[in-house]
């Protein structure tokens, strides 16, 4: 009996969250709750409210304003009224209020509500800053900083731009906020982010770091959602009977999961995932009901990803194997001590005087004793491409790998910003590598991957 709802003339599902006022007028008119003359009177009242707001906007100094400005003020007015009408128990009541109350009154109520919401959003912003995850992800940190969402609280204009979102928000939520604008959008975004943070805080920052590093080494620069990766990993750990808090899964586990999960039909699979989430929440001791429902609403996305991965045999792209960057093999390359400046200048002068390539090579072999000097010579000695190739022929794999590391091949667009000499070195190096046998190329690239130059 508890599920019985009062019948409404206006279906609240057909109303837009972002343009609530306009959609309410449309629906109320279609249902016969508002007549044509009601609409006309509402329109005229809105326009006269716009006229007085515009006058205040111009501080009485100008009688006209740009159409775009007027439209923005009008949107702000309609947004504020819409916010108040949305706060009423149901759309029918909102339509009745529109019929009886004066537009300026509704606007004032709406504006007060916008202000309250702004204060609430500010509070949540501080809460989110406090439960922030410790991560190097740039989009996450910059969105939460004073130059991200922080801008909103400085530039939000309640009077003339209540519908605007003057903030720089790059971080993608697992459940994106759609169909909202202005302060409502920010409030919802921050609420969702707070819940995501709260969930992630159940895990050690280091485990999350290793997980995301396993996802992509350059995850700091990626636009990824951290919560989604963590939740998926926790699910993976649960299904593979691993410790959830570790967020760690192995290749063997993933192979085992194929066998385990492919047995189930879609319905059973979903049931298993939902059961898994329940157990995970219990294990992590999460009792917050909003967080529980947020996680529930994130599941369809994750479930469909796992289902697709099972079909395409790409489960290892969904359940990430964490990587600890500190445990990766490393080769340290010391570039040696540079020669004296005077001596170097003499060498360059001599090289430029040399007529034969063979003499140049001999000279370099004889005088150059460190990698740093060799690099300088490549830039300064104006060598031809054949001379480069013969010089590289005298080098070992590690030296060439170090060269690649220092002068990676750039695309034509990236190369535009480089100095001419640098461009030449890079393209000669690329051509040289390309003509090497395949297995040697592979070996060199493998070395380059683990190489650090000190």
């Amino acid at each position: 009996m508890a599920n019985i709802e009062k019948r409404h003339s206006i279906d609240s599902k057909s109303l837009s969250g972002e343009f609530y006022f306009n959609s309410l007028l449309r629906e109320a008119y279609n249902c016969g709750l508002l007549t044509e003359s009601d609409l006309e009177s509402i329109q005229l009242q809105c326009i006269s409210l716009l006229a007085s707001k515009s006058e205040r906007y111009n501080r009485g100094e100008s009688s006209s304003l740009r159409v775009e400005t007027a439209e923005s003020i009008m949107e702000s007015i309609l947004y504020s009224i819409g916010l108040y009408l949305k706060s009423l128990p149901d759309p029918d009541q909102a339509a009745a209020e529109l019929k009886t109350a004066k537009i300026p009154e509704l606007y004032e109520k709406g504006r007060r509500l916008v202000n309250t919401k702004l204060q609430v959003a500010k509070l949540i912003y501080h809460m989110v800053q406090k439960n922030k995850i410790d991560t190097p992800n740039h989009s996450y940190n910059s969105t939460l900083s004073e130059n991200g969402i922080g801008i909103f609280f400085k530039s939000y204009n309640l009077d003339y731009g209540a519908h605007d979102i003057p903030a720089s928000i790059d971080y993608q939520l697992c459940n994106p906020v759609n169909d909202l604008a202005g302060v409502e959008f920010i409030e919802k975004y921050l609420k969702n982010l707070y819940l995501e943070n709260q969930f992630c805080l159940s895990f050690a920052a280091e485990s999350i770091h290793h997980l995301l590093y396993g996802y992509d080494k350059a995850y700091a620069d990626l636009l990824i959602n951290i919560f989604e990766q963590v939740l998926t990993a926790a699910l993976g750990c649960y299904l593979a009977d691993r410790d959830i808090r570790e967020l760690s899964i192995t290749e063997e586990d993933i192979r085992g999961l194929y066998g385990k999960l492919l047995k189930y039909d879609n319905h059973t699979f979903r049931l298993i995932i939902h059961k898994a989430i329940k157990d995970i929440l219990a294990e992590l001791n999460i009792t917050n009901s909003s967080l529980q429902s947020y996680i529930e609403s994130s599941l369809p996305k994750i479930i469909s990803k796992i289902e697709n991965a099972l079909k395409l045999n790409t489960l290892s792209k969904v359940f990430i194997i964490p990587v600890d960057p500190d445990l990766e093999p490393k080769i340290q390359f010391e570039s040696g001590v540079k020669m004296d400046d005077e001596e170097y200048r003499d060498l360059i002068a001599e090289l430029l005087r040399c007529r034969y390539s063979a003499d140049k090579l001999e000279l370099i072999k004889e005088k150059v004793k460190s990698f740093a000097d060799l690099e300088d010579i490549l830039f300064d000695a104006e060598l031809k491409e054949e001379e480069f190739a013969s010089l590289f022929n005298t080098l070992g794999d590690v030296e060439i790998a170090a060269m690649i590391k220092r002068h990676p091949f750039a695309s034509e667009i990236q190369a535009v910003d480089l100095a001419e000499a640098e461009q030449a070195v890079r393209s000669y190096l690329e051509n040289y590598i390309k003509q090497l046998p395949g297995n040697r190329q592979e070996r060199i690239f493998r070395i380059a991957k683990h190489l650090t130059i000190i």
Binding site: L25, L50, S63, A70
Partner: protein
């Protein structure tokens, strides 16, 4: 239901504006300047067109009346060019409201137009629109005072006038 505010321009305001303009004849009459009802309608229509062309919207009336009040005693306006000049002034006014990025108030802009029209431009609307107001708009956009003079000729002209 749409809120196309451009098309909701109430005709009542237009009627009111026409009446206000005709009423100006009371004080312009002694200079031999009068506007017929048709002239007033033409001016109001001109304003509506100018607003539309320059993408602006005006709720009250008043600008035409303000222009009349400032310009009616100009030595360069007679009954032969009165309506024509007002038409041009309306067009120039709205163009420069946009071009000055709304940095100047209506009153200041009209005052500047009048001073330039009666002063340096000596009654030439072309010089007013193409030289004086353009310079003023540039000054405002670059953050200078409206009458900031950046070349020697301007300064000399000003010095001469002060002496005279």
């Amino acid at each position: 239901m749409s809120f196309d505010i451009m098309n909701k321009y109430p005709s009542l305001i237009q009627k009111q504006a026409v009446a206000e303009i005709v009423k100006c004849n009371d004080f312009t009459g002694r200079f031999g300047l009068t506007l017929s009802y048709e002239d007033a309608v033409e001016l109001v229509e001109k304003r509506a067109l100018a607003l539309k062309r320059y993408g602006r919207i005006e709720f009250g009336g008043g600008v035409i009346e303000k222009l009349i009040r400032e310009f009616y005693d100009s030595p360069y306006i007679s009954k032969h060019n009165y309506v024509e000049t007002l038409n041009e002034l309306i067009e120039i006014f709205y163009f420069y409201k946009n071009d000055t990025l709304d940095l100047i108030s209506d009153e200041e802009l009209i005052k500047f137009m009048k001073d330039s029209f009666n002063g340096r431009c000596q009654g030439s609307l072309e010089l007013l629109a193409g030289r004086e107001l353009e310079k003023m708009a540039r000054n405002l956009r670059y953050g200078y005072a409206p009458d900031y003079a950046d070349n020697e000729a301007d300064k000399e002209w000003e010095a001469e006038n002060e002496d005279g």
